[in-house]
């Protein structure tokens, strides 16, 4: 029998519960996804979830770790959902499976499993996909009512699992460049900002549809804050920095730099601020460290969006800042009680 020492009481919270609440917080965005893009995203999520759990089980088995307790911790599901929500909602099945399996097997388990990964597994999966399959990864479906062809749920299933589309149309018929992408290419064509934003894909703040999903992530994020699953540091520093740099550039040259609110409600900014960068395992542990980490990610996101070759920058910003975490943590240690004012 093991002898336990004090304390003899503990809060009933568990890792599984925390992860479950993160999933719960994703629901508003998922609902808005379905509303705007049809139910395909649900298939992506299911596919990613099954892949994540299966990969998790295989890797645990290979690493000779107990399978059941770790499968029940819900962490693989969080990775799966985040990846499924980061990639286009209408994606061939093998892309989802590949990205999820890579994230779980390589980014998580090869680094030691739960709690030991240096990089955010969902973002590693995303990065692998966008680098390896840029064409498929940019087939973002048009929000319902905007595309040339409307796909029913069965058509969507056919595309996901068989790669076939009705009537021999190509993916271009249902997809279009993302608002961030469009902005970049149109600016290269010397269109003015005003002209670009008159295009039908743009909504009130970001892209039509996309801005609503971003709002869903914001809602979920506020729940995470209220439930004390995350602290304010990362969302505030990330969104604040993104707003500040985008705002300064926009003020200096409004014809060429998008407004800060556009950046907030486009792409994965809200997802990143509340769900990706706040991953505790791959992020910094100190409060000041969180501010630096998220501010850096905000800056890099804006730089990639504005000057880089990829449509969005949140994933790479996250991974680049993940690299810096050990250093940031080392240099942002808080003063210990009774040692304040001492070196």
């Amino acid at each position: 029998m093991a002898i336990f020492s004090s304390p003899f009481i503990s809060k009933p919270d568990t890792v599984a519960q925390i992860m479950f609440r993160v999933l719960l917080a994703l629901l508003p965005a998922v609902a808005l996804y379905v509303w705007n893009y049809g139910p395909a995203v649900l298939v992506s999520i299911a596919l990613a979830s099954v892949t994540a759990l299966a990969t998790e089980a295989v890797m645990l088995k290979l690493r000779q770790r107990p399978v059941a307790p770790f499968l029940r911790d819900n962490s693989a599901l969080v990775t799966a959902w985040l990846l499924a929500l980061a990639i286009p909602p209408l994606t061939p099945w093998w892309l989802i499976v590949l990205g999820t399996a890579f994230g779980i097997a390589v980014a998580k388990h090869l680094y030691g499993g739960l709690g030991n990964n240096l990089f955010n597994p969902a973002m590693v999966g995303y990065a692998v996909l966008i680098v390896s399959f840029p064409a498929q990864m940019t087939h973002w479906p048009s929000p319902l009512g905007l595309g040339q062809a409307e796909l029913g749920f069965l058509d969507q299933l056919g595309y996901i699992f068989a790669g076939t589309l009705p009537g021999g149309i190509g993916p271009d018929a249902f997809s279009m460049a993302t608002p961030l992408d469009t902005l970049k290419t149109q600016l290269h064509l010397d269109k003015s900002m005003g002209q670009i934003f008159e295009m039908p894909i743009y909504g009130y703040l970001g892209g039509k549809g996309g801005e609503m999903v971003a709002f869903g992530f914001l809602l979920g994020g506020l729940y995470l804050l209220a439930a004390r699953i995350i602290t304010w540091h990362i969302p505030v520093a990330f969104l604040g920095t993104l707003f500040a740099v985008a705002g300064i550039a926009h003020l200096l040259d409004p014809a060429h730099y998008a407004a800060p609110l556009f950046h907030w409600f486009s792409g994965a900014a809200m997802l990143g601020a509340f769900f990706i960068l706040t991953d505790p395992v791959s992020g910094p542990t100190t409060d000041r460290g969180k501010l630096i980490f998220a501010a850096g990610a905000g800056l890099i996101t804006w730089l990639i969006r504005t000057f880089g070759g990829f449509p969005d920058g949140v994933a790479f910003a996250t991974l680049l800042m993940n690299i810096c975490v050990p250093l940031i943590v080392l240099y942002t240690q808080p003063a210990v009680f009774g040692k304040k004012g001492q070196p």
Partner: protein, 547 residues
């Protein structure tokens, strides 16, 4: 209204204090047998002053303090000394120590008691009286109180400006201080004035958590009645707000520097029960032979008892009528207390609470998962540490790094483990790391000493050989060559070598254990003793956790 300050972190565990405060303090019946340890205080064991078979009176000295840090031990009732031998003590591993077994005669016949007026007695004499009355810190540290009342020789220009009475009692379940304050506030206030007089402190602050409105009211009334200018302050209920350093911070805004004592910032802090005990000792001539103890948990009738020191815990617990599914017992609170190996041990001066426990009341923790660095531990740490990092270092046995990240500033309050969603026994890891570091430092010290001894021996043998050869040569020559110079040079060389050895020893001693005050040394010695045993426990626990 005084501005209160905050310390970082803290938790709000369920208080569970109402159960044991429904009734007033009851006097525990005279037990059939008392076992009185000769060491119930930090420091050296008291020397037995009675023989087996001797009849003693209640309050009679049976153990004389021996050593600078020590305190007296008294017969808690009149009766016959049946044995003086090693008996198990309240200790997680059932450590034994020298105890007197006393069979009460039922008469409760006191020795002659001399009530004194402290105002007519020099402070030095008062301190001696407290030492001889066995007054020690009843909040848990059991440090001899007389030593905390000494003038600060080391800091001739500093003196104590603030005396703090700790009535916070932040641990769940424990209510002995609460009930003492409710029922005996006047004597606590008198005692505080006595200690203030001894320390020549300019202000007295009485800190009580705001979950004890009755105690606050009782003390406020007592202070007003006594016409004293003490401040009775309601501090926010937050664990571990009753930690001395935390309470000092809340009341004064000052932080006791790491590795220093409250006196270094002009503050001295006493538990309310200690103050009460000191007052009884001087004003009534009653040495410390009883204390208030909370009997609670999985019992039919939770209550506080005034019990004689040495009362077998089994008899004490029986008063509460434990429920049938009780299978464990905790001495102290659920956050920092210890699980008792058995109930066949006596109540000691430091024993404030016994909790009868069952799996339903205090469920064992679920199996630990890996740390996910959620930093909840860091958010609640009252010492501003990064518990997840310390855990990482302890697990990796990277003790140097653990020390660098201020492991020894950890007060083992358990707040981190309380909130950990992975249910990692964090404190167990810290105890393990601390004991390993202390053991290594001692090994190193011993090795350094041995090396210096060895080197000096080598040198001496060499020197003797050389001197012998020189003497021989001198004698053979029968010349009149003066030898005084050589002897002198050799002596110089010895002195130089000894100086070198001393310097090496100084350079080799570990940083943490350098230049400690006697109080710190005593604390370390006491902790060390506990650690030796806890270490085993911790190791078994850690290994269990790894499986």
């Amino acid at each position: 209204m005084r501005t209160l300050f905050k310390f970082h972190g803290g938790i709000h565990p369920p208080g569970n204090k109402a159960q044991s405060t429904q009734h007033g303090i009851a006097r525990a019946p005279l037990p059939s047998r008392l076992v009185i340890p000769f060491r119930q205080h930090a420091g050296d064991v008291a020397r037995p002053a009675v023989r087996v078979g001797e009849r003693v009176l209640k309050g009679q000295l049976i153990g004389t303090p021996s050593g600078f840090i020590s305190s007296a031990v008294h017969a808690p009732t009149s009766g016959t000394v049946a044995a003086i031998d090693m008996q198990p003590l309240p200790h997680p591993s059932g450590l034994s120590d020298l105890c007197a077994t006393l069979i009460p005669d039922g008469n409760e016949e006191w020795v002659a008691r001399t009530p004194l007026d402290y105002r007519n007695i020099p402070a030095e004499e008062l301190r001696h009286l407290l030492r001889m009355s066995g007054v020690v810190g009843l909040g848990g540290a059991v440090f001899p109180s007389d030593l905390k009342l000494r003038p600060l020789r080391a800091h001739p220009n500093k003196h104590i400006t603030t005396l703090i009475l700790n009535g916070a009692e932040c641990e769940p379940w424990i209510t002995c201080d609460d009930m003492l304050m409710r029922e005996r506030a006047a004597e606590i206030v008198q005692g505080a004035e006595m200690l203030r007089f001894m320390l020549e402190a300019s202000e007295v602050l009485i800190g009580i958590e705001d979950n004890k409105p009755e105690a606050l009211a009782a003390l406020r009334q007592a202070v007003a009645l006594a016409g004293l200018a003490f401040e009775v302050i309601a501090v926010p209920t937050i664990y571990p707000g009753g930690g001395a350093k935390q309470l000092i911070r809340v009341l004064t805004g000052l932080e006791v520097p790491s590795g220093k004592l409250p006196t270094d910032i002009g503050v001295q802090c006493f538990n309310v029960a200690t103050v009460y005990g000191a007052w009884r000792a001087i004003a009534h001539g009653e040495p410390l032979v009883s204390r208030i103890v909370t009997v609670t948990g999985n019992v039919r009738q939770a209550r506080n008892y005034e019990a004689l020191i040495g009362t077998p815990l089994a008899e004490l617990l029986a008063l509460g009528e434990p429920l049938p599914d009780t299978d464990r017992y905790i001495m102290g609170g659920p956050m920092m207390g210890m699980e008792l190996p058995s109930l066949d041990i006596p109540l000691v001066k430091g024993g404030n609470c016994i909790i009868a426990a069952s799996d339903q009341l205090l469920p064992p923790p679920p199996p630990a998962l890996p740390c996910i660095r959620c930093t909840r531990c860091a958010q609640v740490c009252p010492a501003d540490l990064q518990p997840m990092d310390l855990f990482w270092f302890a697990q990796a046995r990277d003790f140097g790094k653990a020390q660098e990240f201020s492991l020894f500033d950890c007060i083992e309050c358990g707040a981190c483990a309380y909130v950990c969603p992975s249910h990692i026994p964090l404190v167990q890891y810290y105890r393990f790391a601390k004991s390993e570091i202390r053991a290594r430092e001692q090994d190193k010290l011993a090795a350094d000493k041995a090396r210096i001894r060895y080197e000096f021996r080598e040198y001496r043998i060499e020197r003797d050989k050389r001197e012998k050869a020189e003497r021989l040569a001198a004698r053979e020559k029968v010349a009149a060559a003066p030898a005084a110079g050589t002897a002198d040079a050799a002596r110089q060389e010895i002195l130089a070598a000894m100086e070198r050895a001393k310097q090496q020893a100084a350079a080799a001693s570990p940083k943490n254990t350098d230049r400690l005050t006697p109080q710190q040394q005593a604390e370390i010695a006491e902790i060390e003793k506990r650690r030796a045993h806890i270490r085993e426990l911790a190791r078994s626990g850690v290994e269990h956790h790894k499986e």
